[in-house]
């Protein structure tokens, strides 16, 4: 039988082969990578046994870089070249970053597309590149520990990340050479890690306070389905801010001016952070700061004083909690469990405040630093295809409304926040001038009525509209958000069929060409390496297509395909299998496209048949 020729013995196309997958928590302060081994999800340590990788990259004049602890140790002595908390800059424009400027030592320059670049001894680096360097380090760790190339990863993002921040994160993954199976919201990942342990259904809240971001998510668990009901948060609020208020307090106590040099600033922050951590176990802590020329300041910070200092920050997290409950149409009393996530929830004051708000003791069973990565690893394992049929399913939402600018600088919402993804919505617009042949579209995200108060995601134009009287054209704008929460927008004039389509690339994001250019630059033998890489990519895709097809046809080719259709598909599959053996990536790509076009109807029929099958049990007799 022809089908059997598709799979070569010993090749990667063998079904049921376990694919290596990892979950990555790309954090503001620390990052982690986790994998599922022998059915247990756990974070992976480095060769010295450390699980947490400080999210710090130091760039050296030689062009090399250090990641993690080695970089962090030089943070105080080499502040300008040591990038910390880069997550705060992801998907942000130069102006946004400058508004964070007072507390950051870096020198920013504007890149070509308005993306902020950090000036380092090794050259200018975008936040995406810095994040890619962190991801690359984690990838190496995972591949060494798990013993092979990763088939795919799940990278977590704060639930409240907007489209630009998500896109930047996904770009960083690609730049690090990773196959990003999914971007997963951090609170959802944590719920997965907890949910599978307890296995009980009900409504849970996940309170996630990290180094630089805050998220609250309300989820409904039902027999392995995790349905996010609402999410809210603040992408610029976290443990770093606690460090800053403590550092400011130290400066006041020590009689220091408002403008410490970069090195002192860094020392103050490190001291503040250490003091905060110590106060989880102690009632008070001594702080010693080296000011200059060996001069030192010494003082004592009590837990009570710290609680007073950080209370205004913590209060700011309760607003989003109330909003998420309101959006989910629930009261605090409806919540069955509250899960604590993120290193900052180790601060006792956070726990008591959250406990009071929800009226129940929050769960802290799983290490709040590791729980997100563990959940991501479970999801990665499922997505890589290592789990049986009835595995869990995550249904997430978009955190912020997506809209379009209308007359007078106002926002018209097209998809409201907390809508389950994937989702697609369309809205019709018209021309306002006689003979108007183009229309500018400005895509924005946020809850505010004025466009200027929302985040600008992209601008594009629909051209070549046939001239008509004002109001006669019918321009249908469609927003599609995929399962990663990423947006693409299509505009079409209905009477003429003129179309425009964009993947929303943030105004200060990277184009595909830029990413490819960076990938090329990062390789020693650019030209050759790119070819090898492309070939490898196409081979992987070819294997995936063939394997999926083979599995499908074994199931239902007999019932869904006529003999002619079947032999056409088998012929195309045979051609793909043949070109897969060669070294011409273009030929493989063409063969994949051909097979896909030949099997379009079959794939469509299968999906419909599956749906009919699931619903079949409910039919007829239930119609009253």
């Amino acid at each position: 039988m022809a089908l059997l020729q598709i799979s070569e013995p010993g090749e990667a196309t063998a079904p049921h082969q376990h694919r290596l997958a990892a979950g990555i928590d790309l954090g503001t302060t620390n990052s982690l990578v986790a994998g599922v081994r022998s059915g247990v999800a756990d974070t992976l340590p480095d060769s010295e046994g450390h699980h947490l990788l400080p999210s710090v990259v130091r760039y050296l004049a030689t062009g090399e870089h250090q990641v993690g602890t080695a970089a962090m140790q030089q943070a105080a002595s080499d502040p300008l070249n040591t990038v910390i908390s880069v997550k705060r800059f992801m998907g942000r424009g130069v102006d946004d970053v400058k508004s964070l400027g007072s507390v950051l030592p870096y020198e920013f320059v504007a890149g070509e597309s308005g993306m902020p670049l950090i000036r380092t001894a090794a050259g200018d680096r975008s936040p995406v590149q810095v994040s890619a360097d962190i991801l690359d380090e984690l990838r190496q760790r995972a591949e060494q520990t798990l013993g092979g190339e990763l088939a795919g990863v799940v990278i977590t993002v704060p639930a409240y990340f907007d489209d630009a921040q998500r896109q930047a994160t996904k770009d960083a993954g690609r730049l690090a050479g990773l196959n990003v199976l999914r971007l997963l919201n951090e609170p959802t990942a944590a719920a997965v890690a907890y949910g599978l342990d307890s296995g009980a259904d009900g409504i849970i809240a996940v309170y996630d306070l990290g180094g630089g971001t805050f998220d609250i998510s309300i989820l409904r668990l039902n027999q392995g389905v995790f349905e996010v009901m609402a999410t809210a948060g603040d992408t610029a609020l976290g443990g770093d801010d606690m460090d800053h208020v403590i550092a400011t307090w130290v400066m006041e106590q020590a009689g220091l001016g408002d403008d410490p040099d970069h090195g002192l600033q860094r020392r103050l922050l490190l001291n503040a952070c250490a003091a905060k951590e110590a106060l989880t176990d102690s009632e008070q802590v001594d702080i010693v700061v080296e000011i200059e020329d060996g001069r030192k300041w010494q003082g004592t910070l009590t837990r009570q004083r710290m609680d007073e200092l950080i209370e205004p920050l913590l209060r700011k997290t309760l607003g989003p909690c109330r909003r998420a409950l309101r959006d989910a149409d629930l009261d605090a009393a409806d919540i069955r469990e509250v899960i604590m996530v993120g290193g900052s929830t180790r601060v006792l004051k956070v726990r008591t405040m959250v406990g009071e708000f929800f009226g129940r003791e929050p769960l802290v069973d799983i290490d709040p630093d590791k729980v997100v990565a563990a959940g991501a690893a479970i999801q990665a394992d499922v997505l890589a295809g290592n789990k049986p049929e009835d595995a869990m399913l995550l249904l997430d939402v978009i955190p912020l409304s997506l809209g379009v600018e209308t007359m007078g600088g106002l926002t018209e919402k097209i998809i409201p926040r907390n809508t389950t993804i994937p989702v697609s919505r369309a809205q019709e617009f018209t021309t306002y001038k006689d003979g108007q042949t183009a229309m500018a579209l400005h895509v924005v995200q946020g809850e505010r009525e004025l466009v200027d108060d929302c985040r600008s995601l992209a601008r594009f134009e629909l051209r070549d509209i046939p001239p008509m009287t004002a109001g006669a054209a019918r321009i249908r704008v469609t927003y599609q958000v995929d399962a990663d929460g990423l947006l693409s927008v299509t505009a079409e004039e209905q009477t003429s069929g003129v179309k425009a389509h964009i993947e929303v690339k943030p105004s200060y994001g990277l184009s595909d060409n830029e990413i490819e250019g960076m990938l090329r630059d990062s390789m020693d033998h650019a030209e050759d390496d790119m070819k090898v890489r492309r070939l490898r990519e196409q081979q992987v895709e070819a294997d995936r297509v063939l394997e999926a097809l083979q599995a499908a046809m074994q199931q239902d080719a007999d019932s869904l395909l006529g003999s002619e259709e079947r032999s056409a598909i088998e012929r195309a599959a045979g051609e793909l299998a043949a070109s897969r053996k060669g070294s011409d990536y273009r030929a493989i790509k063409a063969a994949i496209e051909k097979l896909e076009s030949v099997s379009t109807t079959y794939v469509d029929r299968r999906m419909n048949a599956n749906i009919q099958k699931v619903m079949a049990g409910h039919a007829v007799d239930e119609f009253k």
Binding site: G152, L181, N222, R315, T420, V423, E541, R544, I592, H618
Partner: protein, 181 residues
């Protein structure tokens, strides 16, 4: 076999084409359908299958949102029966109803002057909610037992007024909470 993308939402969920529905069935079938088509099921599949899966999952999400919501379900049923209700359409002159709306709006505008605005708002929200529920059961009657479509259209339009009121109540509640806490 008809494509699931062209089936109406009731057919897609194998539910009888009527207003009153069993929410537990709807929720359970929604989960079953998503288990079958969701992009997570196809994360390692070909690009083509992933596209199809996203289309289907998008379609099922939309269908679920419409069927779940009392107002959208009502509008959708009317649309299926050839009586689409336009967004901008207003209700026929019903002085009593309009008067009631004006009273609710005045009450809403006066909330901030109350001694305990949040509590007053909560009371108002409950009243609005109760009115909305009443309209909902009248709509069920009109759509599932009535012969004429006009009463159903009127009820849908009235529910739209209340929906807007509810949204404004929620916005005010959010503002008040942000100011108070």
């Amino acid at each position: 076999m008809s494509s699931t993308l062209t089936q109406n939402y009731f057919e897609l969920f194998s539910l009888p084409q009527q207003y009153v529905l069993e929410h537990a069935d709807l929720d359970a079938r929604y989960r079953e359908l998503q288990r079958t088509v969701h992009p997570d099921r196809y994360a390692s599949a070909s690009d083509q299958e992933r596209r199809f899966s996203m289309q289907q999952a998008t379609h099922i999400n939309e269908a679920y949102q419409v069927l779940k919501d009392p107002l959208r379900r009502g509008r959708y049923l009317l649309e299926l029966r050839g009586h689409a209700v336009e967004d901008q359409q207003t209700t026929h002159q019903d002085p009593e109803f309009l008067m009631q709306q004006i009273e609710f709006r005045e009450a809403l505008a006066g909330i901030r002057q109350q001694d305990d605005p949040l509590q007053a708002l909560d009371r108002l929200a409950r009243e609005i909610q109760a009115q909305y529920r009443t309209l909902e059961s009248e709509l069920a009657q009109a759509l599932d037992a009535g012969e004429e479509f006009e009463p159903a259209v009127t009820l849908v339009l009235k529910m739209q007024y209340f929906m807007r009121l509810q949204n404004e109540v929620q916005e005010l509640e959010a503002d008040l909470e942000d100011e108070l806490f």
